[in-house]
């Protein structure tokens, strides 16, 4: 009749799982909050072309985006169906690019300005005329580091 007798008859009480849903919901909400949504709403239709030699865009904060493509159906009445440039949240002309680059530079830290990249998200059926114009404007603004946004091409072997 020892006091320290192992009571093998009794089972261990099961760990309560009633708080598990709360933990999982916490993780879920964490993910939902941290996933970064696209910060501009696209007003032009962009399907980027396919290419093989791609590199990843690191440092999202240093990237400024220029979208080019046909305006979406609801804007075609006012802006026509020719490929148009979209900067930030609005339609723009080629002449606005220099101002856009300047504004983007001012928004960044001065030390980061040399590492800024301009990402051109251009629809694959756009004619090169407008792209060449944009490139000339970027050269004038000396934003020389650019990235032609593209999708990875599935190689058929």
């Amino acid at each position: 009749m020892s006091k320290f007798r192992k009571d093998s008859g009794k089972e261990l009480p099961a760990i309560s799982t009633s708080s598990l849903p709360d933990i999982v919901f916490m993780i879920l909400i964490f993910f939902m909050v941290t996933v970064k949504m696209r910060d501009v709403s696209l007003k032009v239709h962009v399907v980027t072309p396919q290419a093989t030699e791609l590199s990843k865009l690191e440092k999202k904060s240093l990237v400024s985006n220029i979208y080019v493509g046909e305006p979406l159906a609801q804007y075609q009445r006012t802006f026509g169906s020719e490929p148009t440039i979209q900067l930030n949240d609005q339609f723009a002309g080629v002449g606005d690019i220099i101002n856009f680059i300047t504004a983007e530079r001012e928004a960044r830290d001065e030390a980061e300005v040399p590492f800024m990249i301009t990402s051109l998200k251009v629809d694959q059926y756009t004619k090169m005329g407008i792209v060449t114009d944009i490139k000339q404007e970027l050269r004038k603004a000396s934003a020389l580091h650019i990235n032609y946004s593209a999708r990875k091409k599935e190689t058929v072997d």
């Binding site: 290419a51 090169m128 490139k135 990235n147 946004s149 990875k152």
Partner: protein, 194 residues
């Protein structure tokens, strides 16, 4: 009549449901990684520069790629498909047999490699205003790919690993042998049609 107590709903499966929702969100929210073809534009020439006095590049040193408004390629005066461009560009940049029609080679001392023949070749890409952007990117991608292939082959032969696994000194040496010289013509506002 006494109310019967309702049986409690088991909540053990709530965790599984929540996990399912969690996994759904994890799958759907692809943190859309931006991929792209990285290029550097040449700086704008200073406005006071009238005529550049750089000596003209010999014709054998230039690999001319023309793309017209119908998205057709003319490479070195020859009609070519985009798929065949990479091989052609590689042959041009490496010039393995010292062909007199392919670019000149100059001997130079490169670290890790010793005296090596380095090509003077330049790739020149010209496109029409009406060229489709998709074609333009495909051509650019093939040209960049040709140079990347050559670099990879060389570093595989010399160091036994691919180019992007080399350290920066080795990369510089490989880069010196196969420079990435793709020039784009200044846009010309001539020629008919849109």
């Amino acid at each position: 009549m006494a109310r019967r107590k309702l049986p409690e709903i088991p909540n053990a499966s709530l965790a599984d449901i929540a996990f399912m929702v969690l996994i759904f969100f994890l799958m759907v929210s692809t943190m859309d990684t931006d991929m792209g073809l990285e290029r550097r534009l040449p700086p704008m020439p200073p406005p006071d520069q009238e005529k550049d006095d750089t000596p003209p590049i010999k014709e054998r040193n230039v690999f001319v790629v023309l793309v017209n408004a119908q998205n057709q390629l003319l490479v070195e005066g020859e009609w070519l498909q985009v798929e065949d461009l990479r091989e052609k560009a590689k042959e041009f940049m490496s010039n393995p047999n010292d062909d007199p029609n392919l670019p000149e080679m100059t001997e130079k001392d490169v670290p890790f490699f010793g005296p090596t023949k380095i090509t003077k070749g330049v790739i020149s890409l010209q496109n029409h205003v009406g060229t489709q952007y998709g074609t333009y990117i495909a051509v650019q991608s093939e040209l960049v790919g040709a140079i990347n292939d050559l670099r990879n082959e060389l570093s595989q032969k010399q160091f036994g690993k691919p180019y992007n696994k080399l350290n920066s000194d080795q990369q510089d040496a490989v880069q010196e042998i196969y420079p990435s010289r793709i020039s784009e013509a200044e846009p010309k506002k001539i020629g008919g049609g849109k």
